[in-house]
Amino acid sequence: MACFLVPGTEAIVTTIVTKAVEKKEKENKKEGQESVKESGIKLSTKLGWLNNMLWGGSALLAFEHVWHGEVIPSFPFLTAVREGDAAGMLHEMGTAGVCMAVLVTLTWAGMVWVSSSIEKRKSEQAGADSGEMNA
């Protein structure tokens, strides 16, 4: 019906957050306050992964809804609303839509956790190597 609107809305929010983070990272770079974390993969890059999944998924899902006639080019744009089944549509958004957004976000969280673990291991190894050299 309109489940893609939930991850689509999340995509808008995460894009705004990404822009804010990018701005902050640029300011920090100018001031020379680059933290240890930023020397690896930037947070804005990691948020970009989530944006790509949410925007891409929502766009392709929206196309599927157009294909099945659930989204129409005229007002109110949703067949469910035109046919007076707004409650059914909201129920689907609250169940399937929310699950979609949660699953994509959890997958992204897993990706971030894996990449952070690799970065951490790399920096620990580099630290151990430099310690050995100093000794």
Binding site: C3, W49, N52, M53, S58, L60, E64, A96, C99, V104
Partner: protein
């Protein structure tokens, strides 16, 4: 069928990204993540449909399967078009810029 085709597209895009990593000048990563995002969303859709239909979900009518396959290929094509637009707009290698400036000269 749409889910299956999108998952295969995501796997192929991921293999292409992996082969070219860490060089991301062609933005294969964007294509991968788009397909994986859509696949995850359709997976949720499939789980809900399975919960509703039960085992019947796995024996779709021939016509439905054909329509879903057609939709799947259209989705893959749309994903590639979106990726191409992003690639041309971002123009990471400056090819579009070079071509346009070459035409002006």
């Amino acid at each position: 069928m749409t889910l299956l085709i999108t998952v295969f597209a995501a796997i192929i895009a991921t293999l292409i990204w992996y082969k070219n990593a860490p060089d991301n000048s062609m933005r294969y990563g964007t294509l991968c993540l788009m397909y994986w995002g859509a696949s995850l969303m359709w997976l949720v859709d499939a789980v809900f449909e399975y919960a509703e239909l039960g085992a019947e979900y796995f024996v779709p009518a021939g016509e439905d399967m054909l329509n879903d396959a057609f939709l799947g290929f259209c989705v893959v094509a749309l994903g590639m078009i979106i990726w191409l637009v992003i690639l041309f707009v971002k123009d990471p290698q400056g090819i579009i810029k070079k071509t346009l400036s070459g035409n002006k000269a």
